[in-house]
Amino acid sequence: MTTLSNHVPDPRLITAFAERRDGPLHRINPWTKIGVVGVLVLAVTVFDRLALLAGLYGTVLVVYGVADLPYRRLIGWYTLPMLFIVSVAGPLAFLEPGTPIGGALPTPFGGFSVTWEGLTLFLELSCRSLTVVTFALTASMTTKYTDVAYMLGRLLPRPIDQIALLTYRFTFVMLETLEDLVKAALSRGANFSEFWSNKRLYARILGMTMLSAIEQSERLVKSMEARGYDGDLTLYGDVPRPPARELVAIAACYTGVVAYALVGVYEVVPV
């Protein structure tokens, strides 16, 4: 559907990859993947050299390919995370103190130019962000729907787990509602290409989506209470503990990152 964005990954597509394909990453324990996400977050936060960050990013990109996922889509999905980087690191690239690249741009406020340090910062931030984005997508696209649900049930406290489980289940339903509304309006000649002259149409479509959500929730309450629900949806299913070798690998990753941080970055442990 053209109006639904291709800059935002469609949960239905993500789930389809997880459910219908079977690559090497599909066979890795979901908890291990969460562990890797954690170690990557830590790593991109503490690593302080562009080369290191770029290496990490490159590795994750390779893993994405090994998992048999489409690179072409990834480019579109990078748009939103890159926007933060461009809007924060963009100005910083000019403001960052350091050696200017090429000549300065004369402006009323003085000379203006991108510095080497600014450029490095920009690239560092990009690698940091895209490393985790890419791996989060890899994990989402290779972890089965039920495993995700069980983990949500495990990780989140009540009642957040209940809300998250329902959100996960109903995202698919709500997407279809939204899509149906857009389809129906398009077939009567609606024009979605300009916002300001069509703002009422947008409001109605989004309003109907919300309304349908509210009414769906009213029906949901009835059906859950009819089966004795009182705010406590526990799932019996579970995701098994990772096998020993995966645990060892994760532990090694964490140790490596922490050691590097202590020695290389914060210099807590003198070399």
Partner: protein, 295 residues
């Protein structure tokens, strides 16, 4: 219908309702007395907005009458023992999507058991059995999102049957289903009935109503305006006209063809046997009968 047994035991569910007013002020149902006896299939028919869903939702205390009483298996239901009504009266809602809340079909069937504190292993066991009774064992690890309409409904039915209710209520069980899936669901309903569970359902498909009902209740404008056996109801023109209903196909055909005077067929098979009997009793040469693949 083992009516002696049911009279002896009294109704399984007995609803005395003065009226039901929705929060926005719409009166969904007026004064209604409605009972379900053991081992019967009751079908509610009536136009859109006649109050069928409103009535059904009173039977397990999903809705509460403005003034009145619900008695389930001899126990009056109050705010405190709603769970009793919920347990004895299983409810399959029309909207199959809101019925399935858990990540897999098996989890969903176990959902009710878990709410009543059945331990995991036993719950899993019973859930598998319930899925088997509706011929849906193969669905156990499927995600609700990928189920077809008919499969969703079977899963919803299993999730209710697993609680071993004495009455199962179904709101428009055939809505949106193709003929094959409708038949599958209809067969499951018949089978539940054979297992000794009473069934109350609403439908717009009067052929289906004629087929499964022991008793038909006709609703219009929030009232039960009549009822009886399918034959009594579907040959009562005045009653059907009041409810804006038309008789089922077999009745119309028999009528229009001037056949219905004495035999009064209500289902397709009634009509067929009427016609074949008539044909046989005639001396006329028997027409070619290639079509005994009646379902």
């Amino acid at each position: 219908m083992s009516s002696d047994r049911s009279e002896e035991r009294g109704p399984l569910v007995d609803l005395q309702c003065e009226a039901h007013t929705y929060p926005d002020g719409t009166v969904g149902m007026h004064e209604v007395d409605f009972s379900v006896y053991s081992d019967e299939v009751v079908v509610l028919v009536g136009g859109n907005g006649a109050g069928k869903s409103t009535l059904l939702e009173h039977l397990n205390a999903t809705l509460i009458p403005d003034d009145g009483e619900l008695v389930v298996d001899g126990t009056p239901i109050t705010e405190d023992n709603k769970p009793h009504a919920r347990k004895e009266v299983g409810f399959v809602f029309q909207d199959a999507d809101t019925q399935l809340v858990a990540p897999t079909v098996l989890d969903d069937v176990m959902f009710g058991l878990q709410n009543y504190g059945v331990p995991g292993d036993e719950a899993r066991e019973r859930a598998r059995e319930a899925l088997a009774t509706v011929d849906a064992s193969h669905l156990d690890d499927r995600i609700p999102h990928y189920l077809s309409g008919g499969e969703k409904r079977l899963a919803g039915l299993a999730g209710v049957l697993v609680l071993e209710p004495s009455v199962v209520v179904l709101d428009e069980p055939l809505a949106g289903l193709d003929p094959d899936r409708s038949q599958l669901v209809a067969e499951r309903i018949e089978q539940i009935h054979e297992d000794g569970i009473s069934v109350v359902l609403s439908t717009h498909d009067l052929e289906f109503a004629a087929e499964v009902a022991d008793r038909v209740c006709v609703m219009a404008e929030g009232n039960i305006i009549g009822g009886g056996t399918p034959r009594e109801v579907f040959y009562d023109d005045a009653l059907l006209a009041d409810a804006n209903l038309h008789p089922p196909s077999a009745v119309r055909v028999a009528r229009d063809a001037g056949l219905g005077a004495t035999a009064q067929p209500v289902t397709e098979s009634d009509l067929v046997s009427l016609l074949t009997e008539a044909g046989n009793s005639n001396t006329a040469p028997k027409p070619s009968t290639d079509g005994h693949r009646h379902d």
